[in-house]
């Protein structure tokens, strides 16, 4: 199969590769770029384990072709911590509130929560549950994930208030 050049920005870094047009974004990230934090749980866009952020929207990268990300900005779990290694509040709160067990759904959950909190910085519990309904977890029973996201939302709001006041 002939290959096409694709260029995109992944976690702030520009990457360029020659790929088959049928290559899925998730395989591009995992196998071409070695970003194995994005997981695969179904390949049919049901489980959300492969969730990444594509130009400001949560997408299931198992259902996006790498070539569809041409010229776009992608963020994966590897791009969540600060360059100096400081964890993102969401990452910290997931740990603090035991929002993960096996860790398979976690990268997708965190990426989804990150976008959700930008769409709605002060969500209710119901809104969080609805907002992550595209991401399945088999281990946690969701409750502690929801707690982690609500706690992160509160922290992010508090930080913003401090910033605004300064």
């Amino acid at each position: 199969m002939s290959k096409i050049a694709v260029t995109m920005t992944v976690n702030g870094r520009q990457v360029e590769r020659l790929v088959e047009p049928r290559l899925l974004l998730v395989h591009f990230l995992r196998e071409e770029l070695g970003l194995t934090g994005t997981h695969i749980g179904c390949e049919t866009s049901h489980c959300g384990a492969c969730t990444v952020d594509l130009d400001g929207v949560s997408v299931k990268s198992c259902t996006v072709l790498a070539v569809q990300a041409q010229g776009k900005e992608v963020r994966t779990i590897e791009g969540m911590a600060a360059p100096d290694g400081t964890l993102h509040v969401l990452q910290e709160m997931f740990r603090e509130h035991h929002g993960l067990q096996c860790g398979w759904c976690t990268p997708g959950m965190i990426l989804r929560a990150w976008r959700l909190l930008q769409e709605n910085p002060d969500p209710s519990e119901e809104e969080v549950r609805f907002g992550i309904a595209g991401n399945l977890c088999r281990c946690t029973g969701y409750q502690k994930i929801v707690e982690a996201i609500l706690a992160a939302a509160a922290k992010l709001r508090a930080a913003r208030t401090v910033e605004a006041a300064a």
Binding site: T44, G103, G141
Partner: protein
């Protein structure tokens, strides 16, 4: 004075983050950054990908397999069929249950999606292309899906390979499709007791076929080094050492030439215990091609081929006095094992520990028979978040007890309270042979009932029922109570083994000169947080802060032999091995401390993180100081170093228990339900990390919710599997999943070194009957006796329809 003695005792203990601490998980630091190392993350130079050609038929003869077109495709390196495996003696392999199973279809296929050929190519896309190019000619055969028809005269013979075998691994076979009969208890006494009982109720209780369905599917990478003659096998293995032994037996490679590595695992729940055709084919392909070969299941393959669970059809008959005192229990089970008996039970237990079916009740006499049969369905029958058929048993007894309560006109909670084994009866020998180590069922139940204000709920329900009868509401209220008793921690070597290997578990601890330590284990976490909790046990035992202890699992070349993680056995068995290994270290440390403090060992007492001279509080040596001396200047006559190994053979199982209450409202016109409350009181003995326990309970309850309210792997009459994708198989999202409320009691196990019992499976065992009882309870006053699972909206609506509620 050392720093240690300046801090208060409490501060020193807190610093250890030992038993009882809500310690944050060590694993999370890598997982929240996407830095876990799972099997699909393994990437080796020259690695190939394997993919299966699978049968579209449920039962068919294979007339011809033509691989020539596939083999000619660019990037395709090999295509294996049963013919290629035969010279290696690998077309069939023994199962853990004493049966044999095909690796690749040999002459016929016995279930849909069965493995027919294995394609090996340069990448996964090319492998998938080549799968399409393999041409297989089938001749369809009559299909058997109904387990009740398996032993009839008209039933097609599925297993031609053993059609004439009159004797199976577990005794005589009555029919070519029969696998075993397992019988326990006193048949005559039970029959007699039932005949004498004032009340007898009988019901067929079916626990449908479901699937553990971890979010990560199964997979492996096999890498055979021709020069060294060594095989390295990475994989999603809940029991890596068992896989190594099996790999050695099958491949005939000596066991020391095989290294099995289970990296991080994305959930297991029993799915990842067995040895699957994918593993065998990847190993063979690596040996044949001389290159590493990766095989990763997709979701459809996972749901339709590796490891289903349950599929138990239980006819229960329970006798009682008119006052509701249980007199006898009899259960006859038809167990659908699919095409091969590939259950992963301890060898002597073809129906697992199903004889825990007398549950939490003092039942004087009981009798059980289980008949395993073959059908044209995927093999498995694994212990899905379950200790070998205890989930089936708990569902059976908890449903039949509810039905009995209705029959004698008692409240289901009261009937339970009247029949519970009483606290003072422990250790209690059940009619079916188990010795329950400890329990306090009444306290757990009272706690749960009070928490939800049970009596008031019943009042409210009564009013609702009256209003319903008057036509003022269309919403019914259901209250489900379940009081389960688990049996976990397999198990004592006198009755538990896998492939002849006793079901002990192991731990090796090495304390380093600076007072840090590493512990290596025979178990394997799949999300349970062993790296965190195991370190807590060691911290409390030998006074080294948990943060200074690395816990390592999963690499057979470094870890001591262990039987792995399933059946909630990690804490009961490996947890005990940790404590005993740690105590050996402490005993040696005591000798060193005595030498340093120039006293007799008996004059020392353990104090949080070191030894103190009795009556002389300032004469103290911390573990850290002792560790240094162990390597620097050990006392004369004592070997240097500070390490210990323990292989722990548990004297008994442990018996966690609890009471769950579920309250839900059902709209009879739509079948839509809302879970109002779910309250769980668990007793898992000593609590190692309450945060992790809560997580385990929440997760298990969510899985129970999925099972009770919507899951079923369903086959149609021609053997098509209907729910093998996330489109069709119900996995609850955060929206449907109820909020969980939890509480606990603590009844330590008397025979476990730290009194712990294991917890991961309790919520699945107790959760399913609590939900199912709630749905049944809602309709019971209208005459419904037993509404079978799963209780999805459509089926609840149908139940209402059957009761004539839709006018």
């Amino acid at each position: 004075m050392s720093e240690t003695t300046e801090l208060t005792r409490e501060a020193r203990a807190a610093r250890l983050e030992g038993l009882g601490c809500r310690r944050k998980r060590v694993e999370d630091i890598r997982f929240v950054q996407g830095k876990g190392q799972y099997v699909d993350d393994v990437k080796l130079p020259g690695m190939l990908f394997g993919d299966f050609v699978r049968s579209p038929y449920g039962h068919a003869r294979i007339k011809k397999i033509d691989t020539s077109r596939a083999k000619a495709m660019p990037g395709v390196v090999a295509v294996l069929t049963a013919e290629d495996l035969k010279p290696l003696d690998l077309a069939w392999i023994p199962t853990l249950a004493g049966d044999v199973q095909m690796v690749l279809a040999d002459g016929k296929v016995l279930y849909q999606n069965q493995e027919v050929a294995f394609v090996v190519a340069e990448d996964r896309y090319l492998a998938a292309d080549a799968v399409e190019a393999v041409e297989v000619e089938y001749e369809a055969l009559p299909v058997l899906v109904d387990p009740f028809k398996a032993m009839t005269d008209e039933a097609p013979v599925l297993r031609e390979d053993i059609a004439d075998k009159k004797e199976g691994a577990h005794g005589p076979r009555k029919h070519p499709n029969h696998i075993f009969t397992w019988e326990i208890g006193d048949a005559a006494a039970t029959r007699e007791a039932l005949a004498r009982s004032e009340v007898v109720v009988e019901e067929l209780i079916t626990y449908p076929r479901v699937h553990p369905c971890p979010l990560e599917t199964c997979g492996c990478v096999a890498s055979f080094d021709k020069v060294k003659g060594e095989l390295t096998l990475w994989g999603t293995f809940q029991a890596p050492h068992v896989i190594r032994t099996v790999a050695s037996i099958l491949s005939k490679l000596p066991e020391h030439k095989i290294r099995v590595i289970a990296p991080d695992i994305g959930g297991g729940f029993g799915n990842k215990v067995g040895a699957y055709p994918g593993y065998i084919c990847a190993v063979v392909a690596s040996i044949v091609t001389g290159r590493p070969v990766k095989w990763i299941e997709d979701r459809i393959e996972n749901l339709s081929t590796t490891a289903f669970a349950r599929d138990y059809h239980m006819k229960a008959r329970i006798g009682a006095t008119r006052e509701g005192k249980i007199t006898a229990l009899q259960v006859e089970v038809i167990a659908d094992h699919g095409a091969f008996d590939a259950c992963a039970d301890p060898s002597k237990w073809p129906a697992g520990f199903f004889n825990i079916v007398t549950g939490s009740y003092d039942i004087p006499t009981a009798h059980v028979t289980v008949d395993g049969v073959y059908t044209n369905k995927a093999p498995g029958g694994v212990a899905y978040r379950c200790s070998f058929r205890v989930t089936e048993a708990a569902y059976c007894i908890e449903r039949i007890v509810d039905i009995l309560a209705r029959e004698v006109g008692m409240d289901p909670a009261d009937l339970r309270l009247a029949n519970f084994i009483r606290k003072e009866q422990f250790p209690y020998r059940s009619a079916l042979g188990w010795e329950y180590d400890s329990g306090d069922y009444h306290t757990a139940m009272h706690k749960a009932l009070e928490a939800v204000n049970y009596r008031a709920l019943r009042e409210e329900q009564k009013k609702r029922q009256e209003a319903f009868r008057r036509g003022e509401t269309r919403t019914l209220m259901g209250i489900g109570v379940a009081s389960f008793t688990e049996i976990v921690g397999a198990g004592p070597s006198r009755n538990c083994d896998i492939l002849g290997i006793a079901m002990f578990d192991s731990c090796e601890i090495r304390v380093h000169p600076t007072g840090a330590a590493i512990a290596r284990m025979g178990t394997k976490s799949q999300g349970q947080g062993h790296e965190t909790t195991y370190a807590q046990i060691i911290a409390s035992e030998i006074g080294i802060p948990a943060d200074m202890i690395t816990v390592e699992e999963g690499d057979t070349s470094t870890a001591p032999y262990g039987l792995g993680t399933y059946g909630s056995r990690s804490t009961p068995v490996a947890g005990a091995a940790i404590a005993t290994a740690a105590r050996k270290i402490r005993a040696k440390a005591q000798m060193i401390a005595a030498h340093l403090l120039e006293v007799h060992e008996d004059d020392l007492e353990w104090d949080v993180d070191g030894f103190r001279v009795k009556g002389a509080p300032d004469r103290f040596k911390s573990m850290k100081e002792i560790a240094w001396v162990a390597y620097h200047a050990p006392p004369k006559g004592l070997e240097p170093g500070l390490e210990a190994v323990s292989y722990y053979d548990p004297p008994n199982m442990t018996y966690p228990f609890g009471t769950y209450v579920c309250v839900l409202d059902i709209d009879v016109d739509t079948g839509v339900y809302t879970v109002r409350r779910f309250f769980a009181v668990d007793d898992c003995g000593t609590r190692i990390n309450p945060m992790i326990i809560e997580g385990q309970i929440h997760g298990g309850l969510a899985e129970a919710f999925g099972i009770a309210m919507g899951q079923e792997i369903r086959y149609d009459e021609i053997g098509n599997v209907h729910n093998a994708s996330f489109m069709d198989y119900f996995l609850p999202t955060a929206v449907e999943t109820p909020r969980w409320e939890t509480d606990f009691t603590v009844t330590p196990s008397p025979h476990h070194p730290i009194g712990a019992k294991g917890v991961g499976e309790s919520p699945n065992v107790g959760g399913v009957p609590a939900f199912s009882n709630a749905v049944n309870d809602a309709f019971a006053f209208l005459g419904a006796r037993h509404i079978p699972m799963p209780h999805d909206h459509a089926r609840i609506w149908l139940a209402a329809e059957k009761l004539g509620l839709h006018g």
